[in-house]
Amino acid sequence: MINDKFYSRLQDVVGERNITRTPAILDTYAFQWGYEIESAQRGDEPSRFGQRPDAVVLPTTTEEVQTIVKICNEFKVTFKPFSTGMGPWAGVSEPGAIQIDLRRMNRIVEVDPNNLYVVVEPYVTNSELQAELFQYGLMHHAQGAGPQTSPLASHTSFVGPGFTSPYTGFSGRNLLGAEWVAPNGEILRLGSYEHTGKWFTGDGPGFSLRGVIRGWMGAYGGLGVFTKAAIKLYSYPAPKDWTWNISGTIPKYEWEVPKYWKLIVLNFQEWEQYESAFYEVSDHDVVMMATTSSSEGLAALFTDTKMEAIEVIFGGLLARTRRYFIVLIAAHTEREYNYRVKLIRTIMKKYEGEDLIEEGFISPRSAHYAETIRNMLGGHAFRFSNCFQSTHGGMDTVAMAVKLAQVNQPIKSKYIEKGVIGDDRGEGIWTTTYEGGHMAHLEVPTVYDGASKESCLGYAEYQDECNDVDLKQAYGMPFFIVGDKVHDYYASRTMDYPKYLRRIKAAFDPNGISDSSHYVSAKNKSNE
């Protein structure tokens, strides 16, 4: 139980309206998508509930966060920051810990439309930020987790692909600077800000402290609290007089598609043709989206209900779909649009492909254009069973993604045959390129039944097998290789990197109070 004196000290910081230890409220923080898989992977009974925090505190300024963190150090109480939260890593992991809920820190602090950056607080959502930025003809990299999630959380602390990655890259690469309350309570402002009052770079003087805070995956809240993030912006390709106009109601709404936008689904007979075309399209940096899934995934993206999707799948899509990727051409001018469409069609023809939209096998509506840039994961990926999660995730080249898709198919099929995960014939994947095709990653979205013990255990076993394949056959580091045991499992084939992470943890969190469950502890707990 939480110490009264400790609670009182926190209450003095934020006021009694902004702190609670009411069990009913605390339980809402312990209910996160994916707990059922993590508990199954630990060998426990699959549970939708994780650890209940002992208290939740809601600061509103960086200085309040700092004071809270210092009090946690004084009382040796573990804390976990929480912004929009989506997944088991958002919650606390051990009894006696508190949750620092940042929802009152929700300001868009600064937009610099010429120098292409924005500064945001933790509870600004992708949706809010997009609405603000479109007025300037700008957009940011919104991560795939969806419009309701925090771009600060993704840019500072989590792995960050999104539907627009070919055009806007990866979250961690778009982080220009950050205000960071380190686990010892020190406030650090990375890069140019403390020298100039501007956030145009996060690197220097000298080496970049961005190297400490996140890496590829992010520290998942295991290394303090980020209270501001400066994020790089991109031109939003729409005519100056275009506005965000919608009519109707979700999911059957209509959206005014900008003039020079076009979705194309390039379908090829063989992986070899697909790979060559994917490389060539990505190299030219002409599309906002370039992504692959199964015929089920395609139907989920471009329909609005489960029944519609099933009708499309069995109405011809399943029979016709081979190796495809969807592109969204989003051009600024007619000249740019014409060149890009012609280039895509030239490449498609060169590798004997066809456009599944033009051929009438799938028909995206205007709302589906909007949902690609909004990363409307909730309405699509969760539709078939209410639960999904991704295996693999290694990020390097298109060639690796293509090989991994083929390696994964029989493995996934095995679990489909067992009846524990959704049947997509093992073909369900998701891949995107980044930065003109310089990088690509492949993950394998998989639907399971979160209410079924067998399904949760089956999915967990499938994910463990995928992790093992990636490790042994060198297919990159998958998502979710976090926490002491999993890090150490990967260490022997990855140059023992956890030892450096542990040194960082020890140097920046001497009391070990920033929840390390999805990061690493300074001492090797997995050997204890």
Partner: protein
């Protein structure tokens, strides 16, 4: 001690790869009368294993190491020893281009690979480099990447770290780590077999060691190879110019063009800088500022790509009052084109006007550069260096988010008064620039104290904690960045 270390190093690399010859040591010394600046030995390792053993020896025998990869001229002071008994670790003989992968647009190079060596190999593979503007011929590709030197094509510059990708690094502890996706799982050979090409610089996992090595001026680790981003060579590529009396009149065009990712090369030079680059004495007949814009097309619709880029660029130009031309006076776009994506001829172009050049370089934003330039010119006049001897190179970076700027002070190193005035300008000018908002993200040794005096204690503390993790005995390049000497 010297003899003992000499013998130990000889055992590691062989006797012909260690020297204490004074004429070789002197090239690294800035002051012959100060023995702290005079290295004791030079050692040439030939492998990562050699480097690791040398670093371990430095930790046990307590001597400091300064890694170098590029040849002369050495202009930043990074490679000058700051403590007695320093050993120069010359990586110049590790000069293999290990791999060029045109499909994945990447090359893997050792430290000693220079741009002169690198470019022909890229051309053979149908690739082009992402490289600085006319680096010295002996410039190491790896060093250029580690120093975050700005490259000339902003649209390919996604992150301040570009074009650096993965590295193989020996930390100050002697431990080796491959960074990014190169760390594994698996060996490099296994990764190649699974289709990888060491393209993802991030990680491994939950930290980015490559960002700690990059910009560290040799204080965190010694890098024994890197992978570097390249691009497909264009079939059509032309350079356009626009003259202007002020930087302000180019701003709207620059911002609009950068947002669109239409151009390849995109930067602005003042007349002094452009004439020095071209090796001509025509600065009086040039506009005060010259905008350089490269446009290209490649692939199956190369000409159509070029045409669309040119058409949209011209539309932006006419909307913003800028006139793009193929010739300005006697200077042609083709002449500037011939200087792009190539190193300088010998002697280095910055040394040709007066024999000496001191670079003052910083990061800012495009809108800040005009006032920073005015401040520096005023300081130049006050210091006795004429305004006409200040070169300026304005390079948008990170796809237009920020700008790297070089103010070059051209001086005659044989004239004592010139040297005194130049140093006066560096000292006063950098302070003024910092006061006005310039960020010295890559601080040279001469101004490091001034730069770090503006950093918070918390940031300095964090940097020192990182240093203690990766180089606890401070054997690597002591005296660079904010790290003080420990060996007396």
């Amino acid at each position: 001690m010297n003899t003992s270390i000499h013998n130990d190093l000889s055992k590691i690399v062989g006797p012909d790869r260690v020297t204490d010859k004074q004429e070789l040591l002197e090239q690294f010394s800035s002051n012959q009368e100060d023995d702290r600046t005079h290295p004791s030995l030079i050692v040439w390792p030939s492998s990562a294993e050699d480097v690791s053993q040398i670093v371990e020896l430095a930790n046990t025998k307590f001597f400091s190491l300064i890694p170098i990869s590029s040849g002369v001229p050495r202009m930043s002071g990074t490679s000058t020893p700051k403590v007695k008994g320093t050993v120069i670790l010359d990586l110049g003989r590790m000069n293999r281009i290990i791999r060029v992968d045109s499909k994945n647009k990447v090359a893997m190079v050792e430290p000693g690979v220079t741009f002169s060596q690198f470019l022909p190999e890229l051309r053979k593979a149908g690739l082009r480099p992402l490289m600085p503007l006319m680096p010295k011929a002996s410039q190491s590709v790896l060093t250029s990447c580690l120093d975050r030197e700005p490259t000339t094509i902003p649209r390919f510059h996604w992150d301040a770290s570009d074009p650096l990708l993965c590295t193989e690094t020996i930390f100050g502890t002697g431990e080796m780590l491959r960074t990014g996706s190169a760390s594994g799982p698996g060996s490099l050979e296994e990764q190649w077999a699974s289709g990888q090409a060491q393209k993802n610089p991030m990680g491994p996992s939950q930290f980015d060691p490559f960002r700690l090595v990059q910009g560290s001026q040799g204080t965190i680790g010694i890098v024994t190879w890197i992978t570097v981003k390249c691009e497909v060579a264009p079939e059509v590529h032309r350079v356009y110019l626009a003259g202007s009396e002020t930087l302000e009149s180019l701003q709207k065009f620059n911002y609009a063009l950068l947002k669109r990712r239409l151009a390849d090369e995109h930067f602005v030079l003042n007349a002094r800088c452009l004439s020095a680059m071209l090796g001509v004495d025509t600065s009086d007949s040039l506009p005060v500022w010259t905008l350089v814009v490269g446009l290209s097309g490649h692939g199956p619709l190369a000409q159509e790509e070029f045409d669309y880029r040119l058409g949209d660029t011209n539309d932006i130009a006419s909307e913003t009052g800028v006139f793009l031309e193929t010739t300005i006076g006697s200077i042609t776009g083709d002449a500037v084109h011939s200087l792009l994506n190539t190193p300088s001829t010998e002697p280095y172009w910055k040394l040709t006007p007066y024999g000496g050049c001191r670079e003052v370089y910083f990061t800012s934003t495009l809108d800040m550069i005009p006032s920073l330039y005015d401040i520096f010119l005023e300081e130049a006049e006050a210091a006795g260096i004429g305004r006409s001897r200040i070169g300026a190179y304005v390079q948008p970076t990170v796809q237009g988010v920020n700008t790297n700027c070089y103010f070059d002070i051209f001086y005659n190193p044989k004239v004592e008064e010139d040297i005194i005035n130049m140093e006066k300008l560096v000292a006063a000018g950098t302070e003024q620039l910092m006061d006005a908002g310039a960020f010295f993200s890559r601080p040279p040794v001469t101004i490091r104290e001034s730069v770090y005096s503006r950093s918070s204690p918390e940031v300095l503390n964090a940097m020192n904690r990182v240093k203690r993790i990766f180089d606890p005995n401070n054997v690597l390049s002591p005296g660079n960045l904010c790290f003080e000497e420990v060996f007396k």
